[in-house]
Amino acid sequence: MSIISVNHLVKTFNDLNAVDDISFSVEAGEIFAFLGPNGAGKSTTIKMLTTLLRPTSGSIELNGFNPVREPDDVRRSFGIVFQDPSLDDELTAWENLEFHGVLYGVPKVVRRERMRRLLSVVELDDRRDSLVKTFSGGMKRRLEIARGLLHHPKILFLDEPTLGLDPQTRNRMWSYVEHLNAEEGVTVFFTTHYMEEAERVARRIAIIDHGKIIASGSADDLKAETKTASLEGAFLALTGDAIREEEGGALDRMRFARRMHGHR
């Protein structure tokens, strides 16, 4: 049974087709990797799936709901870890979770119980009352994952979740995501630039470039299709080796500044 199905999805900005007639589906309980070079249309697709952007045309069904007509049902169905941190630095770990739980209408008793459990799962229970601005990048990521799961979503979106994390933290994070997928049956939809991650955890992979899906299947399928030995090789064979420039808006400038100089 597919939990996400996308049909002929198009998103046009001015004259540019950022997403150009893509169709794909993700099965319930699957770990699905959505790969592509910078500016290929990954983030635009995720934004449409998560109700942040309206499609120009085409249809999306997520957990049986339509993001345009039933945004709140869709929003309750997924949790998301964004590419950039989206925590409130001036609040504590506990308060960030509390804020999320209230917004998602999780009843108080259930909420408190889950918050305690999730914090111990991501090993932040001893820092629950520290302000988030004192956290390292890895700790923030872990807290965001805990927060994304607080309302028991059916689908977890992870948009480049391991960017800037050290190998230890990355490894731990993926182990945890795999565990969650196996134990709770949470469907995982993620993007990454680290091909070895996609190869390790994804059951199925779709590659998008210039707004179109150019290949999909398991890592082995993609390697066989391109006659390459690694997923990285397959990826380069499919998307070419020219470097893509991301368009630099204000948000990007902030993002780079923050990555270079640490946080606020």
Binding site: L53, R75, D88, H100, Y104, G249
Partner: protein
């Protein structure tokens, strides 16, 4: 309801925790109060107008409220740049309730600042006409604060980064404050200035504060409150509308 409450609470927690912002934003009103209140006091008195500090204090309260509340509203820009806005935008709650929670939070913060300025003014020598009217004055502060927090939110919903911030301060907040009659009586002004002042909603807010705090206002208090309430409703509506249109 819970949504509004948790967003209100968040604004308050951020306010209480950032001590430097709290102290920093009191610097300007205190300077104005002391430098102008004491500096122009003798001239004002010789012109037969009574105590300038008495006249000035409601204006300075208005100033601290307009600055704090427009900036609170504009915190949406920070939230956008630091990512937190997305967390609220993908939540299964209406954007209008998010906007209302933020606005009430920002307005509460600005009202606290205004009340602190009032207390400092009393220490500096200001004497309220009737203590019983202080709660009305505080309610008026809240109304002014709501107006300008929603204005800030409306602006922040259009701006995408802080580049335009200086523009807003110099070409919107400063003129709104300086031309509102906060620092000078509205009597006998050149017609151009008078016209601008009558179009400035802060004029009515500060005038109402004067009515409650020193027992003298240029317009009838009912008119002041009506104008401020009407403009507040307009900006809450506009702010909500623009906020729901934000794409992150």
């Amino acid at each position: 309801m819970n949504t509004i409450y948790i967003l209100w609470l968040r604004q308050l927690k951020r306010y209480v925790r950032s001590k430097s912002r709290l102290v920093g934003s009191l610097g300007q009103p205190i300077l104005f109060l002391v430098a102008l209140g004491y500096g122009f006091g003798p001239v004002y008195q010789q012109a037969g107008q009574g105590s300038y500090l008495q006249y000035l204090t409601p204006g300075i309260i208005g100033m601290s409220i307009i600055f704090t509340s427009v900036f609170s509203g504009m915190e949406v820009i920070w939230d956008r740049q630091f990512g937190f806005l997305k967390e609220t935008m993908v939540a299964p709650v209406s954007r209008v309730s998010i906007m209302l929670g933020r606005t009430l939070g920002g307005a509460t913060v600005a009202t606290c600042q205004g009340t602190i300025v009032l207390i400092i003014s009393v220490i500096a020598g200001f004497r309220p006409e009737r203590l019983a009217f202080i709660p009305f004055a505080i309610a008026t502060m809240l109304l002014i604060a709501l107006l300008f927090t929603s204005l800030g939110t409306a602006i922040a919903s259009i701006l995408t980064d802080m580049q335009g911030f200086q523009l807003i301060v110099n070409f919107l907040i400063m003129p709104l404050f300086f031309l509102s009659g906060s620092m000078f009586p509205l009597k006998g002004l050149p017609p151009v200035i008078m016209t601008i002042a009558t179009l400035d909603p802060l004029t009515y807010g500060v005038d109402a504060l004067r009515g409650f705090l020193i027992g003298a206002s240029h317009f009838p208090i009912q008119l002041d409150l009506f104008v401020v309430a009407a403009v507040t409703l307009f900006f809450v509506g506009l702010g909500s509308y623009l906020f729901t249109k934000i794409e992150v």
